[in-house]
């Protein structure tokens, strides 16, 4: 049976497991119909021209975990940023792991979507924000239909989260192939601050297909920094659908560190609904093997006097492939918009491929918009210069790659995270440079 049919026909079984009496039931029922209509995206769609899910969809995915896996903290400690004092929301095969997590309801809510969707005290927030920011398409609808678990973060107005929040999804390989559909909701009301770090980690060599949806509400004067670490195995596929809605004078940043995975697709959408907004979309992609990463961004400037900044750096070795598809829409009303987009790539191998496509749709006449895209190789003269100073080729190349990615790395505001990212990069490049750039 094709995966689509299996998902549609399993929906009733899924519904039997969850509470069908509340409003979410209606949202799910609508969503499965929508998925049935749209199905999975194919390469015929312009936005999916360079990313095919065919190889992934042919797997016979298990949709519900039949048993629970237990993992010890010491075995997965390396995937946490453990020197960072933080709240933690951890899932194992899609199921909440209380012993690995550290949640709170003190001033802010850092807890589970399963609680938020079923308990009355969260209803007021869920009614206003849940499934309101995400835009309907096949994958989002599929997630909405099957959504029952994920991170729920609520920061009431005039509050700053006292610690960053780590969201980690582990897959243990209980089944030959598993599908996970986490659903996250972040609500940062007016005058708030919160920092979130998210990671998906496959612990086995079994297939994992994650279709994740995250909605981020950023109220007036709110400040949300969201960091994604995508450094998964070559049997893990991730489709990350993130939707950020921003109100006046807010700042929302999303950093995506894409270092591995079979197929990683980031659908990152920003909607500016006020003035004085800044949206920051940064990415560093470093791939080898046959890994494929597709960054598909959308920034919609709906109001005047706002800014957006996109800076994506990519380094591709061996047969890896990268896609950057960045769309900026400036509505007629959105005068004095400043929108910048840059995508720079280095190909280390003649078998690596990058497709970069900026799209600007500007309907206002007094705006500053720029985009730049480069695809090149490491500078040979710089390599020789470094080697003539005693730096071996491997280290010299690594130093150049660090330097290339550095203006994105230096925008990471959590020092422990920055150190971790540097370590991941150093490990990937097989070097120990002994300092942070």
């Amino acid at each position: 049976m094709e995966l689509k049919e299996k998902l549609v026909s399993s929906f009733l079984a899924f519904e039997a497991e969850v509470d069908t009496t509340n409003d979410i039931h209606d949202i799910r029922t609508e969503a499965i119909k929508s998925f049935e209509k749209y199905g999975f995206p194919t390469k015929k769609l312009e936005a999916w021209k360079y990313t095919s899910l065919n190889s992934v969809l042919k797997n016979d995915f298990s949709l519900f975990p039949k048993k629970e896996a237990v993992i010890e903290f010491k075995d997965v400690k390396q995937y946490f940023i453990s020197d960072l004092d933080s709240y933690k929301i951890v899932f194992i095969d899609g199921v909440y792991s209380s012993h690995l997590s550290g949640t709170t309801h003190d001033k802010i809510d850092v807890c589970l979507m399963s609680s938020a969707l079923t308990q009355d005290r969260f209803k007021a927030v869920i009614d206003v924000y849940y499934n309101k920011i995400a835009k309907e398409d096949g994958l989002v609808s599929l997630n909405t239909a099957y959504a029952r678990e994920g991170a729920y973060i609520y920061i009431p107005k005039n509050t700053a989260a006292d610690k960053p929040i780590q969201i980690i999804h582990f897959a243990t390989g209980l089944e030959q192939a598993s599908m996970l559909q986490p659903r996250n909701l972040i609500v940062a009301e007016d005058n708030t601050e919160v920092t979130i770090i998210e990671r998906h980690q496959n612990l086995s060599d079994k297939k994992v297909f994650t279709n994740s949806v995250t909605e981020i509400y950023t109220g007036k004067n709110a400040h949300v920094d969201y960091y994604k670490i995508q450094n998964d195995t070559d049997t893990a596929t991730l489709i990350d659908n993130t939707f950020a809605e921003q109100h006046s004078n807010s700042l929302c940043s999303v950093h995506t560190f894409a270092f591995g995975g079979e197929i990683t697709r980031n659908n990152l959408n920003f909607f500016q609904k006020g003035q004085g907004i800044d949206s920051i979309l940064n990415g560093v992609t470093i791939l080898e093997g046959k890994a494929h990463v597709d960054h598909n961004t959308l920034v919609e400037h709906q109001q005047p006097n706002c800014e957006s900044h996109q800076d994506y750096k990519g380094i591709f070795d061996e047969k890896s492939t990268g896609v950057f598809n960045g769309k900026i829409i400036v509505d007629q009303e959105a005068q004095k918009t400043n929108a910048f987009q840059s995508n720079n790539n280095i190909l280390l191998s003649d078998k690596a491929t990058v497709n970069s496509k900026p799209q600007l749709e500007i309907f206002a006449d007094d705006v500053k918009c720029s985009h730049g895209c480069t695809i090149g190789q490491l500078d040979e003269s710089a390599l020789f210069y470094m080697r003539s100073r005693g730096i071996a080729p491997k280290e010299a190349k690594a130093l150049l790659m660090y330097a290339f990615a550095n203006n994105v790395l230096e925008t990471v505001k959590v020092p422990q995270l920055k150190t971790r990212i540097n370590k991941i990069i150093a490990k990937k490049l097989g070097v120990n440079l002994g300092f942070d750039l």
């Binding site: 470094m386 080697r387 003539s388 005693g390 010299a396 130093l399 660090y402 330097a403 290339f404």
Partner: protein, 256 residues
Amino acid sequence: MSKYKSMLEIKDLHASVEDKEILKGLNLKVNAGEVHAIMGPNGAGKSTLASVVSGKEEYEVTSGTILLDGEDIEELAAEERAHKGIFLSFQYPVEIPGVSVTNFMKTAINETRKARGLEEMPARDMLKKIKEKSELLEIDSKFLSRSLNEGFSGGEKKRNEIFQMAMLEPKVAILDETDSGLDIDALRIVANGVNKLKGKDNAVIVITHYQRLLDYIVPDFVHVLYDGKIVKSGTKDLALELEEKGYDWIKEEQKA
């Protein structure tokens, strides 16, 4: 055997780039403690000589030998030659955005120490050395945290090259047109730096078009490189003669 220790010895060196022969049987012997100047018209092969000795891979040595302390270094990679004490001050230093001068130097020194079987230099010693050598070259500490050569003026780039030389303490330093693009003050600072660094255990090869630099860095020997060969050698008076008469008489002599 000479009583002086020969530091760099180049014998009958032939080198080509893209099948075009540039060096055509070059001989040069540089002893410890000496300063040699290599002058010559454009296209004579001066920069090629610098590139070949420092190990640039585009250049193919077709015959001849390059000995450093009696050891043939021709098969060594650029970084291995650096580890053994070869240093090239680039005519056009390369800009490396995102790598600070300090981090570049730390990496270069520690990579060299590693290759020599030494521990990394303790951070405190490194800082002390950086401070000492940057003062020698009159380099502002703010400059050290800037990206290597990015947006540097011509003079800053060259001063930074000599700063690197001071940090790495090479046996043989080749200064490829270090005077080009320098005003008189920068020239004085750079020359002063080089003079303080030269000693009985190292040697300096100054490649230049003009006699001007040699007023500041006084050579023991001056060689004229023409058409891939050293065609004339002499004392610093030869440089003055070249300054006065140009290179045409050398060319005429060669034709004769």
